[in-house]
């Protein structure tokens, strides 16, 4: 029996566990190419050449076909130019994009939410390309070395490019990606001693970076200004050693009475690697009042807030003010299922980018060696508790005993998973909501205050050093 919930749509978990037609074939071609990158394309062997051909064949019916076939042939001969590498990265991106689209159809069917139908317009005029050329050259070196061939000399080639790119807002996306990627590669040197290689991950990062070196590829233009009420659902945090981003998922209700839609408000910043935990919130908090609204359980009233066709608000504190109290679980129960979903920009069509807000209740939970799973109407959904940030009150234990959950539906390594953003659970016989992002705007919680204090001290110490040394 399918549990019905009050006012909301029923989440069809069964649709998430069925196989998706064409998905295995597309990913097999992706894997074949990815394995070629493990060994590198300096002097490819027959196996790698076959992997390149498999990628080219998989896009044979598309407008990319001619360029990719040529690139695959050159690469198989160990003679690929940087443009050929870009063509291969574009082919892989297109294939993974088709996987994304198939998965999103599933997500929309399972959540009963519809697509707004708007398409994402072309990015604006390209950025001057010197640094992009330098980045592309480094990525081409990596492809030739292969993951098993990386050493400190090759990897450190990105440092100067990243340092030069980071201050430029137009290059921030590529800079942030290269910075995180290079840190992983550096920690994995020498590649010849690696016991295992994150094959798909590094090919993802490589292809994405390669495509972002095409001038203009990173632009997702603002397509409108919105006014109305913003009802937060929860906060998703992403971090690598030298960057952090917080993304608030929310339902937006336009003031003109139009249809509500799912949107995101986000803020990100580069950081020293020693700023972690509660220190991340401290870095982000001053730049987006929405984080405080999340902690206080409030809605926000927006006026003329810029938004992209993807549903990303380009947040400005001047265009938002704190609104009435709004319980995220009430929003999830009442408003989530009818909110529409935005289009996805071509480059963002990737399974790793899927993060669909969902609400679940009436499930049972099982904990075993593989982790936590929720069972809804006999169908199991894995719960990714590892994604819950440590600087917050939500714990895997609380999720395991929860009765209702707001989360993000994600897909990775062949299956859908649920990333918990908030749960309802019983604490001392009282139904209590616990939010992963509860400390985003600050906290009075005892453990939270202690973490804040330690993070403040670390930040102060570094700023004092920076003040003394950087302006000498």
């Amino acid at each position: 029996m399918v549990p019905a919930h009050q006012g909301g749509g029923v989440m069809r978990v069964d649709l998430l566990t069925e196989s998706v037609a064409g998905l295995d074939e597309a990913l097999a071609a992706v894997d074949a190419f990815d394995r070629a990158l493990v060994v590198g394309l300096l002097r490819p062997h027959a196996v790698q050449a076959a992997g390149l051909t498999e990628l080219a064949d998989a896009v044979a019916g598309t407008p990319l076909a001619g360029r990719v076939a040529e690139a695959a042939e050159k690469a198989a001969a160990g003679a690929a130019s940087e443009d050929h590498f870009v063509a291969l990265a574009a082919a892989r991106t297109a294939l993974v994009g088709s996987v994304h689209d198939a998965l999103m159809e599933r997500v929309e069917a399972a959540t009963g939410r519809s697509h707004a139908g708007e398409s994402v317009p072309e990015p604006p005029e390209p950025h001057p390309a010197n640094l992009l050329v330098a980045a592309r050259s480094w990525l081409a070196d990596l492809a030739r070395c292969g993951w098993q061939g990386i050493d400190h000399e090759v990897v450190s080639g990105s440092a100067a490019v990243v340092s030069a790119m980071l201050p430029d807002p137009d290059l921030r996306r590529l800079a942030t990606l290269l910075d995180g990627f290079a840190a992983e590669l550096a920690a994995s040197c020498p590649g010849s001693a690696l016991e295992r290689v994150p094959v798909r991950r590094w090919a993802d990062l490589w292809s994405r970076a390669m495509v972002l070196t095409v001038p203009g590829a990173a632009g997702v233009p603002v397509t409108g200004m919105v006014s109305g009420r913003l009802l937060p659902l929860g906060v998703d945090v992403q971090e690598h050693a030298t960057a952090v981003q917080a993304q608030v998922h929310a339902v937006f209700e336009p003031a003109d009475g139009g249809a509500s839609r799912l949107v995101r408000g986000c803020v990100s910043v580069p950081k020293p690697d020693t700023i972690v935990g509660a220190g991340l919130w401290q870095l982000l908090r001053p730049h987006m009042s929405l984080l405080a609204a999340v902690s206080e359980g409030r809605s926000m009233d927006l006026s003329d807030m810029p938004v992209t066709a993807e549903g990303d608000l380009v947040w400005s504190d001047a265009r938002a003010r704190a609104g009435a109290p709004a319980d995220a679980f009430a929003t999830a129960r009442v408003a989530l299922s009818t909110a529409s979903v935005s289009a996805t920009a071509p480059l963002d069509r990737h399974p790793a980018r899927i993060a669909a807000p969902v609400f679940l209740e009436g499930y049972s939970s099982q904990q075993d060696d593989d982790g936590l799973t929720f069972t809804v109407a006999d169908h199991r959904l894995a719960v990714d508790t590892d994604r819950i940030p440590t600087a917050g009150p939500l714990t895997p234990e609380a999720v395991a005993v929860s009765r209702a959950c707001i989360g993000l539906l994600r897909w990775d390594a062949g299956e859908f998973t649920l990333q918990p953003l908030a749960v309802e659970t019983t604490v001392r016989k009282k139904l209590t909501a616990i939010h992963a992002g509860a400390w985003a705007g600050g906290t009075t919680d005892k453990a939270g205050a202690r973490a804040e204090k330690a993070a403040t001290d670390a930040g102060t110490m570094l700023r004092e050093r920076a003040g003394r040394l950087l302006r000498k």
Binding site: L27, D31, H152, L166, P167, R172, R173, A183, E184, A187, S188, R196, V199, R200, R201, D204, L205, R208, L212, V237, Q238, E239, H240, A241, T242, A243, Q245, R264, C266, V267, S268, P270, T274, V276, G279, L283, L284, H287, M288, D312, L313, V314, D348, A352, T385, D386, R387, I388, T390, D412, A413, G414, A454, A458, M461, L462, R465, A466, L469, L470
Partner: protein, 167 residues
Amino acid sequence: MSDWERSSTARVVPPARPRKLAKVPFVELADGRVQGVVSSGSDIERVYVSSVAAGTFAFACSTNNNRPCGGARGSFCRHIRTLIDEAALQYGPERVARYLRLDTDVWGTTEDALAVAMIATGPPRGDNAAAASVFSRFLRHLAYLELAPTTAPVPEMQWFPPTRAVA
């Protein structure tokens, strides 16, 4: 391929553990060394640049003005010991030992044993040639504090989920 190999969000590097930064504002595992910057106990304007090389445990310590540290003639000075202790706090002792190619049977399992185990091998004194580059990496690290935040989305960060696993 295993699930880890076909995961887009496989965790490769565990996040740094929080630690107090007063004594050692900067430590990293880079260029084949554990290297970093150690505060002088007495003079706020002075810092020491200290390092230990992987494999040989060759050590070096000098001030940021390139004066050799008086304590680092025969063996590890207290700056180097502090550096190793803080590296173990930040990255976890196992990862530091692995990076240094320090035999795990030798150093056991407690954090402070790392420096002791290396000293016992009678490590050679290295030169201070790397000090300038370590110090400039410290400055680059501090410069991250001055970069502006953005509220434009960075979809690339979707590949970098947090993890509760510790180093």
